[in-house]
């Protein structure tokens, strides 16, 4: 148990909207071990970003609300920290990089200044030393000519460079956990590969754990040790990356994998999963995937399946729960 860095237990993050309560994250439990990369996958609107933002406590409240649950980072429950304690935890213990590298940097300050400010937040060094460390931070993320680049403004940099700066800033205080919310979605494919490669090698150098939010299964295959598949605010499957890709159990995971175009199969129309994620305001009764599920049967429409552990490989689906029951 002690190798668990982050442990989320039964997290429920709801939003109050004029149309009613919106359970964006509805009873999610997952964990990240020290030094590992956990990928959280799912379609848009399945609650993966809200889960990540909940860990950072960046959900605006109101309209957001942490209804229940525990987010334990290295033994401390983040949901119980005071605002000031949480502020000191951000950046120092857990840092986050976002999807939009183009707008995540302040246009009026040089990148060096912004990195230096981030460094000073948690280390208390003087501004001159912080600037020197900013150069080092840029060198760490393989920005060429870091001593020149620190004096540039964000608009003078490309998207890939800016994402490197964001990573440099996030890593400047050596957090134990880095949360990356679709860090490569807005980038060109070649730059994506560079950034992923960078993150993988930095992870080894710095020795941190990474929680990578993505909807790109290619990224998952490249990066992940373990995978959590989310659907409609719930975890539907969880397991080692080889297991998830090799023998997926949940029909949703299988569907996602079938949607990847493959070179070794005849070309034709790409596979899709019919329908869309149901609105959180009107989740169907029973399993939330049953309306789109090819294998749904009677029980799926009536009752929500629990996440059951099948030897490290967890799945929430009646096909397997009942099969497991029959075996037992």
């Amino acid at each position: 148990m002690s190798d668990r860095l982050l442990e989320i237990t039964d997290l429920r993050t709801y939003f109050n909207t004029p149309e009613g309560t919106l359970p964006a994250v509805d009873g999610v439990s997952l964990h990240v071990n020290r030094g590992e990369t956990l990928c959280v996958v799912g379609e848009s609107g399945c609650g993966k970003s809200v889960t990540a933002l909940s860990v950072m406590r960046l959900i605006p409240t109101p309209p957001g609300r942490y209804v229940s649950g525990k987010i334990s980072l290295a033994g401390r429950d983040l949901l119980r920290l005071s605002k000031e304690e949480m502020r000191r935890t951000r950046g120092r213990d857990v840092a986050m990089i976002f999807q939009e590298p183009m707008t995540s940097l302040n246009p009026v300050h040089t990148v060096g200044r912004q990195i230096a400010e981030a460094i000073r937040l948690h280390s208390g060094v003087g501004s001159r030393e912080a600037t020197e460390r900013a150069v080092e931070a840029l060198r760490l993320v393989r920005v060429p000519d870091p001593h020149l680049r620190v004096r540039e403004f964000p608009h003078q940099m490309s998207g890939g460079m800016r994402q490197r700066v964001m990573i440099a800033m996030a890593l400047s205080c050596r957090p134990k956990l880095l949360i990356a919310d679709e860090p490569t979605t807005a980038l060109d494919v070649t730059v994506q590969a560079q950034i992923l490669e960078l993150m993988r090698s930095l992870k080894k150098e710095v020795g941190m754990a990474v929680m990578l939010i993505t909807h790109d299964l290619g990224v998952v295959a490249e990066m992940a040790h373990r995978v959590v598949v989310m659907y409609a605010g719930k975890v539907v499957e969880e397991g080692q990356v080889e297991v998830i890709f090799g023998e997926p159990l949940h029909p949703y995971t299988r569907g996602l994998l079938r949607c990847i175009p493959r070179l070794d199969q005849p070309r034709g129309q790409l596979t899709i999963i019919d329908g869309t994620v149901p609105s959180p305001l009107r989740f169907p009764a029973g399993c939330r995937f049953h309306s789109r599920c090819p294998d749904a049967w009677e029980l799926c429409r009536r009752q929500m399946p629990e996440l059951i552990d099948m030897g490290g490989h967890k799945v929430a689906c009646w096909l397997h729960t009942s099969a497991a029951r029959e075996v037992v």
Binding site: M56, L58, R87, R88, T89, R90, G91, R92, A95, M96, I97, F98, E100, M102, T103, S104, L105, N106, P107, V108, H109, E117, A118, L121, H122, D145, L148, R149, R151, E152, H155, Q156, M157, S158, G159, M161, M166, M169, A170, C173
Partner: protein
Amino acid sequence: MTETKSTSTEPRNMVALAQGINTLRRSRMMTLGLLLVLAVSVLALIAPRVAPFDPLEVDPMRRLQSPGPVHRMGTDDVGRDVYSRVLWGSRVSLLVGALVVVFSNLIGIFVGLLSGYFDRVDKILMRFMDGLMAFPTTLLAIAMMAALGARLSNVIIALSVVYVPRVARVVRGVVLTVRETAYVESAVAIGAPTWKIIFFHVLPNCLDPIIVQSSFIFAQSVLSEAALSYLGVGIPPWIPSWGNIMTGGRMFINVAPWMTLYPGLAIIVCVLGLNLFGDGLRDLVDPRLRGVI
């Protein structure tokens, strides 16, 4: 987005200077405005040296003389040199304008930042600002002058209060957009305290509209000061301000129009210069007019 070649081989100041000169060349009206403002400012600075007469020196023998070689803008009803008085008056006008800009910005920026960033105080502060804005500018200033008494410092206070809501509105508007940006969110995510977010991230992004607004407030307060003085509730009559000089000429406008004409022209030149400059600044700052973001 392509990678931009680094320009850091040249000294940054030189680049900025070259860009500034280029801008001025493209916008002629702004240059004209800047020149007018500079001219008035220089004259105000060197007024004690270039004014041929003491602006307060009374000479009954030379009353109501029309403009000529000795008294370029003529003399007033007690024989004071209008040219010297207009020169000295520019000091009063610019002093009032500059200090009103400083004070209304200090308070307005503070109020705007608070009310834009903290929803809880927003409603209270903004309703108070709306209340101030509901009064016609001059009327509010007159009322405050009546309460405070006619002194130079009170003119500055009154006009500052009048212009605080405008600054606050502009700043609040910018804060509302800036606080939702991705870079503010990432600053929170890295653990930046609220005050640092406000002063390091939000405030610098408000500066463009604040600077533009300041040039207009400067022009407006020069006008308002003249109006207040002209109405007799502004600067005490013995201080030569443009408004006061015009009031003095009101009785003699038929026999000695120069007493009102020249200070009036001075006001026009000064305000026109500031407005042209402000328009140019606004066009520069507005990304839609600049064509690039």
